[in-house]
């Protein structure tokens, strides 16, 4: 059986570190993801979410640590995975359908059409990406990732440019495909509600590490009106804010304000 279509894979991330030159992005990050689990990653812009996803996809080498897929060490391209990039990356010289067909065996063209139908773009099959709106391009990129039936699906802010309604539609699409195909999924998002709606577990990355690992134990399909729902959202948001606030308070205690500084200087002179 083709590697990519093995059903769900488990991921073991052990103490990985990644830096670009001087800038250390991830440090001693460890994370275990079960077969068939749906994990969301949240965190502030620039905290290394995309970097983590690229490492799992095997597109980049880490400086230290290991990643294991079903116990097998990853040291090249991750052949189980399909990644949807944050910036879409459609080939501008290929029509929508040909973009979705990229790397797909010829006889699976029907599946590509089906995937485009699922994201609501079947009538745009013959258009070039330059003729599509930002959200439409994102949906094409989503279709392109889904059509391979990967055993590991990596989504980097796939729904960022969509309106609330389409967004919910796409969330439902991803969730139902995940239920049906039982792949393992990692979703990067900046929307905590989205993370709570769709995933089994929400991971918060801060300072290069996992600073929160929150299982979401709500029954599916999840309703935003469920009392537990807002509890989870608040807890995660609180964790993000709390740290910030604590840090701000801490900074205030340590560093004198401008006025204090001036006073201090004038006394000393």
């Amino acid at each position: 059986m083709n590697k990519i279509q093995e059903q769900g894979i488990g991921i073991q991330i052990n103490n990985i570190g990644k830096s670009y030159g001087e800038r250390c992005v991830l440090e001693n990050l460890s994370l275990t993801i079960q077969k068939g689990e749906f994990v969301s990653i949240v965190g502030k812009s620039g905290c290394g979410k995309s970097t983590l996803l690229r490492l799992v996809a095997g597109l980049e080498k880490m400086n230290n640590g290991t990643i294991e897929l079903n116990g097998e060490r990853l040291d090249d391209l991750n052949r189980y995975a399909r990644i949807m990039f944050q910036d879409g990356r459609l080939l501008p010289w290929k029509k929508t359908l040909d973009n979705v067909c990229l790397g797909l065996p010829k006889e699976k063209k029907e599946n590509a059409i089906g995937a485009l139908q699922q994201v609501g773009l079947k009538d745009r099959i013959d258009d070039f990406p330059s003729m599509l709106s930002g959200g439409q391009r994102q949906r094409v990129a989503l279709a392109r990732a889904l059509v391979h039936n990967p055993s590991l699906l990596l989504l980097d802010e796939p729904l960022g440019a969509l309106d609330a309604l389409t967004r919910i539609e796409m969330q439902n699409l991803i969730e139902s495909l995940w239920k049906q195909k039982k792949f393992t999924a990692i979703l990067v998002t900046h929307d905590v509600e989205e993370a709570v709606t769709i995933s089994d577990r929400v991971i918060l990355i801060e300072d290069g590490k996992v600073s929160l690992n929150q299982p979401i134990k709500l029954p599916r399909p999840r309703k935003r009106t469920h009392p537990g729902f807002s509890m989870y959202v608040e807890e995660i948001l609180g964790q993000i804010m709390h740290k910030k606030q604590r840090k701000a308070n801490f900074d205030m205690l340590l560093s004198p304000s401008k006025e204090e500084q001036l006073l201090f200087n004038s006394i000393n002179n």
Binding site: L91, K94, G103
Partner: protein, 251 residues
């Protein structure tokens, strides 16, 4: 009646006005025949040369040289650009040398080329090929080097490698730059051919013009120049056609 598209008419207005004023000025005697014969005279000369078959011979010989030189130089330049753009070793091995050669004006080699190959076909084809090679090389090379790295990474992540990666991602990504090189080299092709044929040849349009000079046939000289202009325009039209066909996603 449906008028033709104004995009088709407007570009030809200036040539048309020039032609008419030229004819008019010759007709009233403002331009002496010795300096510049009237368009009608050039047309008559054209008809005469056509009837003897001389014109067709010269034109087809020139076209043959242009095409042969263009294909040889273009293919060599393209292949080098391709290999040096894709393979790091080839890049290190060849690029510096090619860049050095590129800076020699190829027309400066005419004396050498005549000594090497005489004034036969080889020397002209050689010069055209040499002139065409470098613009095609440079633009192919840069086109491939500047393909968006993110798209290449995406292609790899979607399981493309080797030939598939090249044909789906790298070549189309480099195409607009390659076409710029081809368009530019078509200009170089005509320029080189004109110079080479004018200096040393026994056939071809350039030879026809030089030969006419000896007999003071102004009309034939002008005719040669007009033919060059038309062919220059024609090659531009062909280049444009391919640009539109191959880059239609870029609109």
């Amino acid at each position: 009646m449906k008028l033709p598209n104004k995009g088709v008419i407007i570009p030809w207005l200036i040539p048309l006005v020039l032609l008419i004023s030229w004819q008019f000025l010759s007709w009233v005697g403002a331009i002496p025949e010795r300096i510049l014969p009237a368009p009608t005279q050039v047309f008559v000369a054209c008809m005469e040369l056509l009837s003897t078959g001389e014109l067709v011979d010269h034109v087809s010989i020139s076209l043959g040289r242009a095409l042969a030189g263009f294909l040889i130089g273009g293919i060599i330049g393209f292949l080098f650009g391709l290999f040096n753009g894709v393979f790091r070793f080839a890049d290190l091995f060849f690029d510096t040398s090619i860049q050095m050669l590129r800076n020699i004006p190829h027309l400066a080699l005419i004396p050498l080329v005549i000594l090497w190959f005489g004034i036969g076909e080889t020397s002209k084809i050689f010069l055209v090929a040499l002139g065409v090679l470098f613009p095609v090389y440079i633009n192919t090379y840069h086109g491939i080097k500047s393909v968006d790295k993110k798209l290449i990474e995406m292609g790899k992540a979607y399981g493309l490698r080797g030939k598939a990666l090249f044909f789906h991602v790298i070549l189309p990504g480099a195409m607009s730059s390659i076409l710029v090189g081809i368009r530019f080299s078509l200009g170089v092709m005509w320029l080189t051919l004109i110079v080479a044929e004018t200096i040393s040849a026994q056939s071809g349009i350039g030879y026809m013009a030089m030969n006419a000079r000896e007999f003071m046939q102004m009309d034939v000289i002008i005719l040669s120049i007009v033919i060059y202009a038309l062919f220059g325009k024609l090659s531009d039209v062909i280049a444009r056609y391919f640009e539109e066909k191959l880059l239609k996603w870029n609109t």
